[in-house]
């Protein structure tokens, strides 16, 4: 069935308990504190497509990414992979699903174990998921993977610190690809990199998608990057998806005031010398989210309704879903 999306989030929420230790809480009569990192997130990623998530720091992008690969269990709602609810635990079923998905992390320096050689790093998923494979087969596979991401098979005997940031990110990509996943979560894979290196990595990811038909969940805060890689785009604010839809549509004509603000804040090469109205306000703490629409304290168009009523996400026709009282009504 071509219709089944590879990944589907249905009203997924994830909370974290950030309370003080039990005794402390009892003694100073503090309530239990929950941090809602993700709330009511619904979206689908179709096979072979890329969904990008953008938003300011702490808005819950990474949490969504981890929910998608099963590192976190949702507190509410369901995550479906290929139509099936995401299994948890470390059973055979989980392994089978895990093999079909992988994750690439933000920091090319921290995501590789500095004490391991490249071939061990790249072969680790093979060893775990296919223990029967022979050493020589494995070595061949590692060499092939390294070639695939534009590194030399001879690099396999080196340590991560002998590589540049871009090369390291290639190694993590090779590791992610080694279990032949269909689905990759990329959590800010280039935000620590220089533009020139970033271009190398982004191009590679795009090539891989074209060649292998991979599906990406791409997390970033750089709208320009997102525009380059994504088919679809989700904009997050304080744990909620405020706007989801085709990337080009959103970027050309943002519907939610927050999306507009984000777009306006991007420094633009074309705008040399001109000055813009700076964005006001700071991101509130996710522990005590503002009531109603969480964006209302920073929103230039906020009304009384925004302060009290949480807007529900609703489709506005052009394939987009937006959560704003002012849009679509």
């Amino acid at each position: 069935m071509a219709d089944v999306p590879l990944l589907e989030f249905a009203d997924v929420g994830r909370d974290f308990d950030v309370s003080q230790p039990w005794l402390e809480r009892v003694l100073s009569r503090l309530p239990k504190q929950r941090l809602v990192a993700v709330d009511d997130a619904s979206f689908r990623v179709a096979r072979g497509r890329t969904l990008a998530l953008v938003g300011e720091s702490g808005c819950g992008k990474s949490t969504v990414g981890r929910l998608a690969v099963g590192l976190y269990k949702p507190s509410r709602g369901t995550v479906r992979f290929d139509g099936q609810p995401m299994p948890s635990g470390s059973g055979r079923e989980t392994m089978a699903v895990r093999r079909r998905m992988q994750m690439i992390f933000q920091d090319p320096y921290a995501s590789l174990n500095p004490r391991w050689k490249v071939d061990d790093i790249v072969a680790e998923p093979l060893r775990v998921q296919n223990a029967a494979m022979s050493e020589t087969d494995r070595a061949e596979r590692v060499a092939a993977l390294l070639r695939q991401v534009g590194l030399a098979p001879a690099d396999a005997r080196k340590f991560p610190h002998e590589f540049s940031g871009g090369q390291r990110q290639r190694i993590s990509i090779a590791r992610a690809l080694s279990s032949e996943p269909e689905f990759l979560v990329c959590d800010e894979p280039t935000s620590a990199l220089d533009v020139s290196v970033q271009a190398q990595v982004l191009n590679l990811m795009r090539d891989l998608q074209d060649r292998l038909g991979l599906t990406y969940l791409f997390i970033s805060h750089n709208l320009a990057v997102v525009e380059y890689v994504a088919h679809d785009l989700g904009v997050m604010y304080l744990g909620r998806l405020v706007e989801v839809g085709p990337a080009t549509t959103i970027l050309k004509d943002p519907a939610h005031p927050y999306t507009r603000m984000l777009l306006a804040a991007v420094p633009d090469l074309a705008m040399t010398g001109t000055s813009r109205t700076p964005v006001a306000g700071e991101i509130p703490s996710p522990i005590d989210r503002p009531s109603g629409c969480a964006f209302h304290p920073r929103c230039p168009h906020a009304t009384e309704r925004c302060r009290v009523e949480t807007p529900v996400a609703k489709p506005i026709g052009d394939g987009r879903v937006v959560a704003c009282h002012l849009v679509g009504s």
């Binding site: 950030v18 003080q20 003694l27 503090l30």
Partner: protein, 326 residues
């Protein structure tokens, strides 16, 4: 803050209870005090009767339970060796050990920190190197040998300082202090150096390495970039940041100072808890040992608490954690 202190106290009680339990589990093995209590000509029947009288024949958890039940009422029983209440013995001995330990800690801190700062600020000067090596030689010798050598030099050869004891003590309420008499103060010097030497070296080296780290921190670079004079940079910003970890370690070490006082007290015939403990171990004096271990645990927890409070005082980040949660 009150909650914090309370939590620590609950924790203290738990730690002490655990220490007591372990101690009592081990006591069965330390020997049979009854043999000594009854003298050489007692018959086995008399010994058994005495054992039963003292409850020493019961399983350790029963003994422990009784110990705890009485201890919470402040009754630690009778020393089997001296046949005097443990609490009285402690009251007599504790001031000596505490004064010695505090003096040793003071020595360790007052000498260790400045030396550490100096060696960090002037890492290449020969004096720094000398400090580092000499202090290491000091801790490369066992405490008892250092004690004897100090006695040999300062008491026997030079005759400046007494070789044993606390000198004259003055009673302040129930507390016997040697800090108010000249002879008491003189008597304190050698033992506290002996006891504090190891901690001094430790603190000095810790201060040095922390300071070297801190001096490379961004905010120190920024402080220099702001044009602050070295004096401010070193002693206001760098030192204060250095103190945070030093306080923790030094505090924990204070606990072991009290424990290590056993050796120093033996060498200098310092009439403190350590001397009492080592004698009670030899005699299998269970009540004294149990109470001593619990006391050490209590001291340790108190020190920990004080260290944490100090920590709070020094580091605002911790101070406001609770507030930030609101």
């Amino acid at each position: 803050m009150a909650a914090f202190v309370l939590r620590r106290l609950v924790q203290a009680a738990l730690v002490m209870a655990a220490v007591g339990l372990i101690a009592f589990a081990l006591f069965r093995f330390v020997g049979d005090p009854v043999v000594f209590m009854l003298g050489q000509d007692a018959t086995p029947a008399e010994r058994a009767a005495m054992s039963a009288q003292l409850g020493l024949d019961q399983p350790f958890h029963v003994q422990y339970g009784r110990f705890v039940a009485r201890a919470v009422q402040g009754d630690f029983g009778l020393s089997l060796r001296q046949l005097r209440p443990v609490s009285t013995l402690f009251a007599e001995r504790l001031p000596a050990t505490l004064e010695l330990s505090l003096a040793a800690a003071l020595f360790a801190v007052a000498v260790g920190i400045p030396m550490g700062v100096y060696t960090a600020l002037k890492p290449r000067s020969w004096l720094s190197q000398a400090f580092l090596v000499v202090s290491l030689i000091g801790v490369s010798l066992p405490t008892f040998l250092i004690g004897i050598l100090l006695i040999l030099v300062f008491a026997v050869q030079l005759g400046w300082l007494p070789s044993f004891g606390r000198g004259d003590v003055v009673m302040l309420g129930g507390w016997s202090t040697g800090l108010l008499t000249v002879s008491g103060l003189k008597a304190l010097i050698l033992p506290s150096i002996t006891l504090g030497l190891f901690q001094m070296t430790l603190i000095m080296r810790l201060t040095r390495s922390e300071m070297l780290e801190v001096l490379r921190a961004d905010h120190i670079r920024f402080a220099r970039a702001r044009g602050l004079p070295d004096r401010l940079v070193h002693f206001r910003h760098a030192l204060r940041n250095t103190l945070v970890p030093v306080i923790t370690v030094a505090g924990l070490q204070l606990g072991s100072i009290v424990a290590f006082a056993i050796i120093t007290e033996t060498v200098f015939q310092w009439p403190g808890m350590g001397l009492l403990f080592i004698q009670s171990v030899m005699f299998a004096d269970v009540p004294v040992m149990g109470a001593y271990l619990c006391l050490i645990a209590l001291l340790f927890v108190i020190i920990n608490l004080v260290v944490d409070l100090l920590y709070y005082a020094v580091d605002p980040r911790l101070r406001l954690d609770g507030a930030a949660a609101h």
